[in-house]
């Protein structure tokens, strides 16, 4: 055997060992179970094979935009007041779809320069244009708007990840989904009852501590009546839990301050605890900065009431007996122990910047996953065996060559899966099977060509040479086209379909190596041992 051939053989053995390691790592035992366990650790199974929940969430990014716009309106009002500019009204004409559109009504044209400078200095992310009848329209600049929306999605992903991590779900997938539709894909392996996880993820958990200015009132009208028909400008009405001691279950309304001295952003920690009545509650501590603000607020309002507001619902009101620095408690609302645990966890993970909505939910029970693996593996073994046997019968000696290449192809493909983070799904197993069928195409192309060349009177070594040479262009063309369609699948697909694209692509790449290089080396090796003129078994 000559030197180059030896080197090539070395390369092949090296590849083989490298990818075998990719599949099995260093197995603890070489029994069937030991090998399967080692393989299970290296190759990640998709949700459809191991069971679990797949969710697609829509982040309602307009919520985040709306918060920003309302903030901008507050700034505008404050500045207009400061500069003594009169205005009739400031509104968001289309809060649902374009919350960043703000219309100022009744600002005299003479105030133009002032107005411009307010927007330029304080609200640089907005554009302002004059319209008819002293009205002015503002809208967020497209780049700022896009940035804000994307930030809402990133933040939502971050928050959801925090929450799911604390639930102890192993290997969750949380990532942006689709092409710019502000969607999030969440995959939770092993979770087959998603109701609780869904509630936890969806909870916006916006905590605010406000001053309570009155209440509880049995209805909104009652509150209005007591205040003489008009609410103070700096106050809003919020619903709360049913009135303490009330016979009938019904909402209670509270009048609270519009501003909140402390919000969820100021939380350092939140833990489940019990209130003085022994009921489950959540106690929290504030950051240094937030604590200072809370202290200032409570020292100024000793004797007043404060309201703990969660997601725009008054959770409880309490008397301020003395200045409080950095601790607080959320109780009331007849929390269960599980709820107090979940709420403290949600508060620790931070608030969602925008609401979320579920678009898609799929649950695969583990029993189905196990059945799918069985079915997939059986189909793979049957298909593979059929091809291997056929090649042996049809091409005899060269059939062994093709079979060796095919098995190596599979080893490389599975090794790829082991090394990469790619997941094996049920369609992925189908991709493996299909690789066997399509991979053998390269061998058939080459072998048929060699037979043809032999028929045309070439010597075996010339025929092998010509066969590989001629088939090469075709092989490249066919591989490129299939890989192109797999790539498109990978870009457009999710989950199972992506798994299919992955195995098909890896399989075809591996096939380029095995069918062209490995198979050739085997032929060369056989030819090198043959007498000149001896026939080739093909």
């Amino acid at each position: 055997m000559n030197r180059t051939l030896l080197t090539k053989l070395g390369v092949i053995v090296g590849f083989l060992l490298f990818f075998l390691f990719g599949i099995f790592g260093i197995p603890k035992g070489f029994s069937r179970d030991g090998l399967l366990a080692a393989m299970g650790e290296r190759i990640h199974l998709g949700l459809d094979l191991r069971g679990g929940t797949h969710l697609i969430l829509q982040v309602q990014v307009n919520d985040a935009v709306n918060v920003d716009a309302q903030n901008a309106i507050e700034i505008l009002k404050e500045q207009l007041r400061k500069r003594k500019i009169d205005y009739a009204d400031i509104i968001q004409p289309d809060q649902q779809n374009n919350p960043d559109h703000i219309v100022l009504k009744g600002v005299q044209a003479s105030a133009r320069t002032d107005l411009m400078s307010i927007v330029q200095e304080r609200l640089p992310e907005y554009d302002i244009n004059g319209g008819a009848e002293n009205s002015w329209t503002m809208a967020m600049k497209p780049t700022n708007l896009a940035e804000l929306k994307n930030k809402a999605v990133t933040q939502a992903i971050e928050t959801i990840r925090n929450r799911i991590d604390q639930l102890g779900v192993s290997e969750p997938t949380i990532q942006e989904h689709g092409l710019g539709q502000y969607q999030i894909l969440v995959q939770l392996p092993g979770v087959d009852d998603p109701a609780r996880v869904k509630d936890i993820m969806q909870s916006t958990a916006m905590l605010e501590i406000k001053q309570s200015l009155g209440g509880p009132y049995p209805s909104e009208q009652a509150a209005l009546q007591e205040k003489g028909g008009v609410l103070p400008a700096d106050a809003i009405l919020l619903p709360g839990h049913s009135m303490p001691g009330a016979e009938a279950e019904g909402p209670a309304w509270y009048l609270v301050s519009r501003v909140s001295p402390v919000s969820g952003k100021d939380l350092r920690d939140a833990q489940p605890s019990r209130d003085q009545n022994g009921q489950p509650s959540v106690s929290f501590t504030l950051t240094g900065d937030g604590g200072q603000r809370f202290y200032n607020f409570t020292s100024a309002h000793v004797g007043d009431m404060l309201a703990v507001v969660l997601d725009n619902k008054v959770q409880e009101v309490a008397n301020i007996h003395e200045p409080i620095r950095d601790r607080g408690e959320i109780s009331g609302g007849r929390m269960s122990e599980q709820q107090s645990k979940d709420l403290s966890m949600i508060l620790r993970s931070g608030a969602l910047p925008a609401g979320i909505k579920y678009l898609e939910e799929r649950t695969v029970g583990p029993s189905l996953g196990a059945d799918s693996i069985r079915a997939g593996v059986r189909a793979a073994i049957v298909g593979m065996a059929a091809v291997l046997v056929f090649m042996l019968i049809y091409y005899r000696g060269a059939g062994i060559n093709a079979d060796v290449a095919l098995i190596l192809n599979l080893i490389i493909l599975l090794g790829f899966m082991g090394y990469s983070e790619a997941v094996l799904t049920l369609p992925g197993i189908a991709g493996v099977i299909l690789t066997v069928g399509m991979g053998v195409d390269s061998n058939v192309l080459i072998f048929e060509r060699i037979r043809e060349e032999i028929r045309n009177g070439k010597t075996p070594s010339q025929a092998v040479d010509q066969g590989f040479h001629h088939a090469m262009t075709t092989i490249i063309d066919t591989h490129v086209t299939t890989i192109v369609s797999s790539a498109i699948l990978f870009i457009f697909g999710t989950g199972p379909v992506r798994g299919f694209a992955t195995t098909l692509t890896f399989g075809l790449l591996a096939n380029l190596f095995t069918a062209v290089f490995v198979s050739r080396v085997i032929f060369d090796w056989i030819l090198s041992r043959k007498q000149r003129g001896e026939a080739l078994s093909i």
Binding site: V387, A430, T482, S485, F500
Partner: protein
């Protein structure tokens, strides 16, 4: 062994038969899509709720239907699923039942409707998660555990669920089956808080209407991009008419495959689209192999007519074409027969597609190229030398 030795079939001479054959199938498919079954979009694309249920006994479909009626669920499609001994039923609720605010309402209603023998205050063990079971065990504390109760009961609950799902296939028919699966004390308290319904939920798919439309659009785009990619690649490697011929061929394959789905009323799911995209690649492979041979032969046989060259090329590659198609077909057939119900649509698309794809590379792609060259000749121009550049 050799199947095809020195074959010389006049494929181009039979082009009218091929055309008739293709037309019959395409037109049948298109008519079915337009006037009969429509395009049978799967839940991925049309939105809706699918619940796959496994019963512990042979399911009585009319009883299931009656239960759905009682729950006020309108027109669910109910059909048995998979092989008969699996006792599986698929319940398919149309999109209007699924508002986006309460995406899983349909699922909850279906499960509630099926739990006909539910005693008051008890939960269904066959459809409880391990968390529910753990919370129940924590409450009862049958093993009198101290500080690490949480962990130990979690393990017990997981063992019970695992046994139910992996060993019993998802449905328990009696509490006695759990003996040995978990701690006897824990198992003994279960009947106080749980009952056993006669079914377990295997799989749930809920797709909101918005996603459905979006996915349909994406699937269409993906198919178009695939076709465009082929056109560009082949135009670059050969000559534009070859790209066009290949794309027409592939379009023909896709049409017939989708038509077959419409005719057999098989749901087109996401994986079916994946299969169709794969077929686009596969059918192109076959076409390219023939085109490559034509290109090579044009250089060798300068005197011959193009139709003669094309015929010769098809015959020369016939052995390869049939062999590869046969082998790929073998693997796909294995998938269709043994791959399980989840892959049914996917493997069906591949089985049909590989047959059609192989046929069309011979019967459609090559005749288009020849017809184009003949048409050019008729207009008095020289046939363009096929390999613009033989790369």
């Amino acid at each position: 062994m050799e199947f095809f030795h020195d074959v010389n079939i006049d494929f181009l001479g039979k082009k009218w038969y091929f055309l008739a054959f293709s037309l019959i199938f395409s037109v049948a498919g298109v008519l079915s899509m337009l006037f009969w079954h429509g395009i049978p979009w799967g839940v991925d694309f049309r939105g809706g709720t699918l619940v796959y249920v496994k019963f512990s006994h042979t399911p009585d479909l009319s009883a299931v239907r009656a239960a759905m009626d009682r729950a006020g669920l309108r027109d669910p499609k109910i059909q048995s699923y998979g092989q008969a001994p699996n006792n599986e039923v698929l319940i398919d609720l149309a999109q209007k039942e699924t508002s986006e605010q309460a995406l899983d309402r349909g699922k909850i209603q279906i499960i509630g409707a099926l739990e006909t023998n539910a005693p008051a205050g008890k939960q269904d063990l066959n459809n409880s998660s391990s968390l529910t079971i753990k919370n129940y065990l924590m409450d009862k504390d049958p093993m009198h555990l101290g500080s690490d109760a949480d962990q130990k009961y979690t393990a017990q609950a997981q063992a019970i669920v695992e046994y139910r799902d992996k060993t019993q296939g998802g449905v328990l028919s009696s509490f006695d089956q759990l003996k040995g699966a978990a701690d006897p004390a824990a198992v003994a308290t279960l009947p106080d808080g749980f009952f056993l319904s006669d079914f377990g939920v295997r799989n749930v798919e809920i797709v909101g209407p918005q996603v459905g439309g979006q996915l349909r659009q994406q699937a269409g785009l993906a198919t178009l991009y695939s076709l465009a990619g082929m056109l560009v690649y082949l135009g670059f490697r050969f000559e534009w008419i070859y790209g066009v011929a290949a794309v027409v061929t592939v379009f023909h394959d896709t049409l017939i495959t989708v038509g077959a789905f419409s005719l057999t009323k098989t749901d087109i799911s996401l994986t079916v689209i994946a299969a169709i995209l794969t077929l686009i690649g596969y059918s192109n492979n076959d076409t390219i192999v023939v085109f490559d041979r034509i290109r090579e032969n044009i250089k060798l046989m300068r005197r011959e007519k193009l139709s003669e060259i094309v015929n010769r090329s098809i015959n020369q590659t016939l052995s390869r074409t049939i062999l590869t198609a046969g082998l790929t077909f073998l693997t796909v057939l294995a998938l269709f027969l043994f791959g399980g119900e989840v892959l049914h649509g996917f493997s069906l698309a591949l089985v049909i597609g590989i047959l059609i794809g192989t046929y069309s590379s011979i019967a459609i792609a090559a005749p288009i190229v020849v017809a184009y060259q003949d048409w050019r000749m008729d207009r008095g121009k020289r046939p363009s030398a096929m390999p613009a550049k033989a790369r």
